[in-house]
Amino acid sequence: MCLALPAKIVAIHSPTQATIDLGGIKKDISIELVPDVKLNDYVVVHVGYAIGLIEPEEAERTLQLFGELGQIEGAQT
């Protein structure tokens, strides 16, 4: 039950409602669960709700990790 997608916040209408853009498709969703969200942030969307923010630096670090050629250990919590 985990289908959730990263999408960009392209408009904020109120503390509870925003519009996201995913690959050119726009949809209105709730942002009640991400009170700190700002315009142009990327959020993870599930069943019409943003459930978390995507951290751009961490996303970049993950991609670097995929590209690493060997000895370094994976990201630690």
Binding site: L3, G23, G24, I25, K27, V47
Partner: protein, 351 residues
Amino acid sequence: MVKKNYIRPLDLNNGRVDMNHGAGGRASKQLIDEIFAKAFDNEYLRQGDDGARLPALPAGSEWVMSTDGHVVQPLFFPGSDIGKLAVHGTINDVAMMGATPLYLTCSFIIEEGLALSTLKTIVESMGQAARDAGVSIVSGDTKVVEQGKGDGVFISTTGVGIASTKHTISGTNARIGDVVLLSGSIADHGVAVLAQRESLQFDSQIESDSAALHTLTAALLDALPAGTLKTLRDPTRGGLATTLNEIAVQSQVGIELMESSIPLKPQTEAACELLGLDPLYIANEGKLIAIVSPEYAQTALSTLRAHPLGEMASIIGTVVADEHCFVQMQTRLGGRRVVDWLTGEPLPRIC
């Protein structure tokens, strides 16, 4: 003074279809005259008979006939409507047999209460689609059912066309080594319709790809020598996956696909992601699959790409030996999966 044959015209702006229009009396005739005959106008309909007398078959050719029902909801969606869809759908079924579609009939089952303006828009759209395709709607029927028994309108269309005997196009003709081509991007129609439905609202610029494909098939029939064009089919309900599975079973072969060669518009892909749908199973109304001998694969590809409806055409796979008749796909990632038959209706997933 008594006006000869005076009848008050239909109130096309505010009127609604009612049970009188289906009773077969004056009201029925009026509906037909003022909406249908006007939009479809041709020499056959002008006779006013219950059927159409068609010309004789040219020598060396055969009749092809096909029928289709249309129950799409909503009735109007970006890029098309139920009327246009009905005309294109049947034209395409005839075209996929390797025939030139010429004549259509249509049957309307209308729900009591449908706005006359809606009916008129649909019928005019059909008339225009038929004219654009060079096809005549030569006979038809209308019935009216009580409110609640009809979903607006159901349209059935039957089409007749002429096939030359140069090619024998059939789903049973695919052979090991043959190449599978697709004329363009998948899933656009299904997503355009889903985008309109109430419970799934989103603004998108995806349009239905609804189109009459008979000039595209004619180009292929022309460019390819006899015996090299094996199968033609339009992947409508059930999508590309279902159509390829059908052909695999008909021909008792397997099919191998390359996911990276299947054209998919970025917005359609995004919409499918959002809805949890697999684009392989979503309906298309303006695309075709062609299975051809390997030596003519490039000819077929360039013929498709030279036509406005085939600009994004691609070679998507090959026919292989497989006693299980699987359709398998090498995924974009480099893995492998079966592309199975559709199970039930593609309801959007959450998981």
